[in-house]
Amino acid sequence: MSVIGYGYAVWAPLIWIVVLVVIGVMVLVWRNRGQKGYKKGTAQTDIFLSGARVPPEEQRHVKSENIYWGFFESLKELYSGMMKPHTGIVNDYLLWLVGVLAIAILILVVAG
């Protein structure tokens, strides 16, 4: 009942659950074997940047607009082309509607 089989392979999620539980247990065991003898709130838990001054929190966090910068930079032309129709003006939405309607009716009437 938890299995859907189609095409090349059978997808049985229960096996996956078992695998995930095993991995989870391994991670927990691994984690518990870690070093416990450190003192909280001392220099032992501070961030260490090769001796350089650690910047404040706001500057340490990578903002959303900077993530995947290279991806957007290389696809700049695609994005400028895609932004052009997304004007946000309600009249333009209706123009698209009329255009697509005309094309669809033409196709349906001609090709039946």
Partner: protein
């Protein structure tokens, strides 16, 4: 019990309508807020029960017809007539599937809203509109005649637009609501125009009767174009999707999943029109390919726009468009090969299973994601991901639910998104390998964009501005955990869901004759 099952279709639509108008009155009384919340939950609980027994009945017995004003509910055609003249509700596997989707979403939205709305003004109208929207969607799913399709489409649009513009003091909220009502009004008028064309030729309004008499003339094809494109606009298929990000972004949290469900109810109407109303078409390949092309464009452009967004809800709204493409792709493949029995048995039926299964999966995880986004908005007052950071430190539940939703939408096993996407990938591969590759690529970009937002919003150092941020209240967590539980359950038992509720829906769509006979059976 028999009486309840017989009258369930009308009760499911009538009860929320009554509740919608009773709620403002109850709120006026002393201690009204509490009374109203209890009343709303009680009514919705009753409706959930009715939907459950109706679903059992439809799956066990078959199509259930409810005729308004007839001596017996099954008497669709009065004595001495050869065509149905009364208003009919016709509930088959696909209708009850949509009913289940809408009801579960409504339940989660209502519970989530109980705390979310606390202390805001206009709560009575808010719950009133929620029930109105629910009634409109259920009516749209159950209706058996074309004119009520228009009426319920408009009811759902009016309630949805009013809910989207609920925060009337914010300029963007009013704008989103206005765009929604404008495009809804115009697409509903196009639907009405198409209904006029059909009525002019066949002099009947019942879907089954029109399908029975359908001649596929040029006028019918024009009507099909009007209906299909108007409904594609309502379900936000590219290139008619631009209203969706605006509206989904501004709607208050509890209502965004409801408006999303309203879009998928329009998708149901599109399937009903293409499969049932025009089902006997000799050549369904054309309309099938139109659906497939809209689907592929939605997938690709939706996801490419989504990865670019900085507003968290706007990003999710573009993903809603992109995931809608998967459903259109799956069902469109089924539609394109429906006249070819070998291909239908080989992959068409499973492609449709995948597409329809994806509706319920997507509504669940996208509702969950919208709720987590609004939980963040509830606590920090902004939707801009550039201003977020380190939120997982204080909002652990929200972060966990976000991860569940993000993994599900990206199609990572063992969550539910993977099960339906696997069906779609494998079947579409047999139909056209290129489309399957595009579908997989889109999933990849989906994961990338959700990782981006997870990194920006939840991880990183604890920002000074958000040191005092608290976890959201319990009612909101319960609303989200209902959806998360469904996601995990559907992910672990996909076979069960596909066999019990999805396959009957697919069969109902393919079995056009069954739908017609349920109403026209008495005709010699």
């Amino acid at each position: 019990m028999d009486f309840l099952v017989t009258n369930a279709p009308i009760l499911i639509v009538a009860l929320p309508l009554v509740a919608a108008f009773a709620i403002p009155l109850i709120s006026l009384s002393r201690g009204g807020d509490r009374g109203r919340n209890v009343f709303s939950l009680a009514i919705l609980g009753l409706i959930v029960f009715l939907v459950a027994i109706l679903a059992r009945d439809v799956h066990a017995v078959g199509i259930r017809v409810y005729t308004f004003g007839a001596t017996a509910a099954e008497l669709a055609i009065p004595h001495g007539y050869t065509v149905p003249v009364r208003i009919i509700f016709e509930v088959d596997g696909m209708s009850i599937f949509m009913g289940l989707v809408i009801t579960i979403v409504a339940l989660a939205s209502l519970i989530y809203s109980l705390h979310f709305m606390k202390g805001q003004t206009g709560q009575a109208r808010f719950y009133s509109l929620m029930f109105l929207l629910y009634a409109g969607m259920m009516g749209l799913a159950f209706t058996g005649d074309m004119f009520n399709l228009f009426v319920f489409l408009e009811i759902a649009s009016i309630a949805g637009a009013a809910l989207a513009a609920y925060r009337t003091n914010r300029a963007d909220a009013v704008e989103g609501g206005f765009k929604y009502i404008v495009i809804s009004a115009i697409s509903a008028l196009l639907v009405l125009f198409a209904i006029g064309i059909l009525y002019a030729q066949y002099n009947v309004l019942s879907i089954a009767a029109i399908a029975h008499f359908m001649q596929h003339t040029t006028l019918d094809m024009i009507a099909l174009g009007l209906l299909a494109i108007a409904l594609v606009m309502k379900l936000a298929g590219v290139p008619l999707h631009m209203w969706a990000p605006d509206t989904y972004t501004v709607a208050p949290a509890g209502t965004t999943p409801m408006i999303l469900a309203a879009s998928y109810t329009s998708m149901y109407a599109l399937y009903r029109v293409t499969f049932t109303l025009y089902g006997g078409l000799i050549n369904t390949t054309t309309i099938g390919w139109i659906v497939i092309i809209v689907g592929v464009l939605s997938m690709f452009i939706g996801v490419m726009m989504a990865v670019h967004q900085t507003d968290i809800k706007r990003m999710m709204a573009y993903h809603a468009i992109s995931q809608g493409g998967y459903m259109l792709l799956g069902v469109g493949v089924g539609l394109a090969v429906i006249t070819n029995p070998a291909a239908l048995a080989n992959y068409g039926r499973d492609a449709m299973n995948g597409g329809i299964f994806h509706i319920i999966n997507h509504v669940f995880y996208k509702a969950l994601l919208f709720m987590t986004a609004e939980a963040i908005f509830f606590r920090i007052g902004t939707r801009d991901t550039n201003k977020m950071g380190g939120l997982a430190r204080n909002m652990k539940w929200t972060a966990a639910f976000y991860v569940i939703g993000a993994l599900a939408i990206s199609g990572i096993p063992p969550f539910n998104g993977f099960a339906s996407k696997l069906l779609i990938y494998e079947t579409v591969l047999k139909f056209s390998p290129v489309l399957s590759v595009i579908a997989m690529f889109v999933s990849l970009v989906t994961l990338a964009s959700f990782t981006k937002v997870f990194y920006a919003a939840f991880t990183g150092p604890e920002l000074p501005a958000y040191k005092k941020v608290k976890e959201v209240p319990k009612s909101m967590i319960i609303g989200m955990s209902i959806l998360a539980a469904f996601i995990i359950f559907f992910g672990i038992f996909p076979g069960l869901i596909v066999n019990t509720i999805v396959a009957p829906a697919t069969n109902a769509l393919i079995d056009q004759a069954g739908y017609i006979n349920a109403v026209m059976g008495a005709v010699p």
